[in-house]
Symmetry: C2
Subunit: 329 residues, 2 copies
């Protein structure tokens, strides 16, 4: 695959060394892909050229740089986590019938669900090939397969929790621990695998990545409800219609008969009713509670970070964690 | 996952030792699956309890038994090839919108495409976990990822060849080498991996599996056209409508203006026209040519088999190859 025109996210502008490595990750992803089908190639170029923030491969690289690591395996292992993430996004869009992804048309919308199914499967295959080619330790492969299962099981938990009006915050935390935090933890562990870190550092980095992942997802879900527009955004409306409930709604719906009655309408809730639902969530005080949850995870993450040894990576991780966990877009 | 009621195919009735091992493979598949979602569990039980002939895990076991192998890894590696095969079938059914699979309703038809997408992804994850857990050799994982890519690239080649009215038999052979033969070769190589065979045996077994796979797919495609009914079967009609052309049609359509004109109608070909297409294919002499192709692959397979050392497996492989490659259902 060649000729993707990738623009790296401005979050990396102030860290040129990492920016360069992330460009190296994208180059390696491209070099690894040869899908044998014009539409799948186009779909892949599409996905990786709207490459988002590349947070997960950045975690692999930043964690991996604390202790001496060989550059080539480190960048390739960072590539695997981004490919895995992208594979799951492509398949999520089939499941959600989502028209948009990364501010562009989704693969399934542009090329059809057959191309989306193949593209995701092909990325899974390349992910595992790249993983196995860049470690000599079978335990690294074993570790990665367990996190992949955990990620998929998180997605399945989300499915099981559909329309669950007695869903608890504990259910929600279990769900996002799988579908979001496990991928951050995998990213950190691939950095650890590439650099033979001491055990105590590995534990700190794993715990840091978990807490960042949790805070990141809660904030993402919070932003859906706290937008200063007076309506729920379209994606959130779709989530509610499809029975996907996130922290603000879960907190607000406990013992709230009006919200329960609206949710009981299931997929038939009208646009006006959904707007009203958003108002009820905001009026309930749930946003402050969800924000406290995110702050608690963020604080734990920053504590783990502060216990790490002095290193350039530590300062960069601190800076991007603060940027990410206080974002409002 | 528990309580599947599996009936093994009668092809194994005369080989009780292998029958027992295949039951062991199914037991290990079930023990490995814990999908965390009732529908996905039900979908998996559905797939594995209509388990087909289990040819691919049988190849792993039979090839693996020529030389001393540890039973537990051998059965687990055999399980991985069946799980991989099943994952690709589940995703194929999303792509094809297929209502049937293994004489039962397909996963996507019964549970929806979201369950089908997750079920396939989950099986890919369990496949790689089981693979990595049952070898200490990273090269076995590397080998398996390359065959998985080859299988997917064969499926993509099939997609690229859709509606290709100048498609050649070489295009077709390349396509089935990937989508069918590569999985048989992977099955054989997992048996080889579990038993540390000498290199010359490994080459024979690989070549045997490739030729069986090629003959198997050509015969499968031949049966679609040679049925004594006067109509194309419904699946074949769907294939033609979707632009999937197999050996009999590819042979017949070369320089045949009437067939070319019917195919030019693409997805709009009527039922009556498709029936007529089937008659034209049968009248063209293409079936005999396709049969000669299958016979040539079968003969090569049997030659490779005859060069293998004396072993109970050799006689069983001969018997099932003959049964498979002369089947008419």
């Amino acid at each position: 695959m060649t000729h993707s025109q990738t623009t790296l996210h401005p979050i990396w502008d102030e860290f040129p060394a990492i920016r360069k490595e992330l460009q190296g990750v994208l180059d390696r992803i491209e070099a690894n892909l040869d899908a044998n089908d014009a539409d799948v190639e186009a779909a892949l170029i599409d996905m990786f050229s709207h490459g988002g923030k590349l947070l997960r491969p950045a975690f692999t690289i930043l964690i991996g740089r604390f202790f001496p690591a060989e550059r080539e395996p480190l960048l390739n292992l960072a590539a695997t986590v981004e490919m895995l993430h992208t594979a799951s996004l492509v398949h999520d869009d089939i499941i959600d019938d989502s028209p948009k992804r990364r501010h562009a048309e989704s693969v399934q919308s542009r090329f059809g669900k057959d191309v989306a199914a193949y593209t995701g499967d092909y990325l899974f295959a390349v992910t595992f090939r790249t993983l196995a080619d860049n470690t000599n330790d079978i335990n690294v492969v074993r570790m990665a397969t367990r996190y992949l299962e955990r990620i998929l099981s998180g997605e399945l938990t989300q499915r099981t929790n559909h329309y669950k009006r007695d869903m608890t915050i504990a259910n929600y935390e279990d769900q996002i621990a799988g579908k979001t935090a496990a991928l951050f933890v995998l990213a950190a562990n691939l950095g650890i695998a590439a650099s033979h870190t001491p055990k105590d550092f590995a534990d700190l980095a794993t715990d840091f990545a978990y807490n960042v992942g949790m805070a990141f997802q809660i904030l993402d879900d919070l932003l859906d409800y706290s937008a200063d527009s007076t309506t729920l955004g379209k994606p959130t409306l779709n989530d509610v219609r499809e029975g996907v409930y996130s922290a603000p709604l879960i907190i607000a719906m406990q013992d709230n008969e009006e919200i329960q009655a609206l949710l009981a309408k299931g997929a038939t809730i009208s646009d006006d009713e959904a707007v009203h639902l958003g108002e009820l969530v905001r009026a309930s005080g749930a946003l402050a509670i969800a924000e406290d949850m995110a702050v608690a995870y963020t604080n734990t993450a920053l504590e783990r970070l502060s216990d790490m040894p002095e290193h350039e990576s530590k300062h960069i991780l601190l800076s991007i964690s603060q940027t990410l966990l206080t974002r409002n877009d």
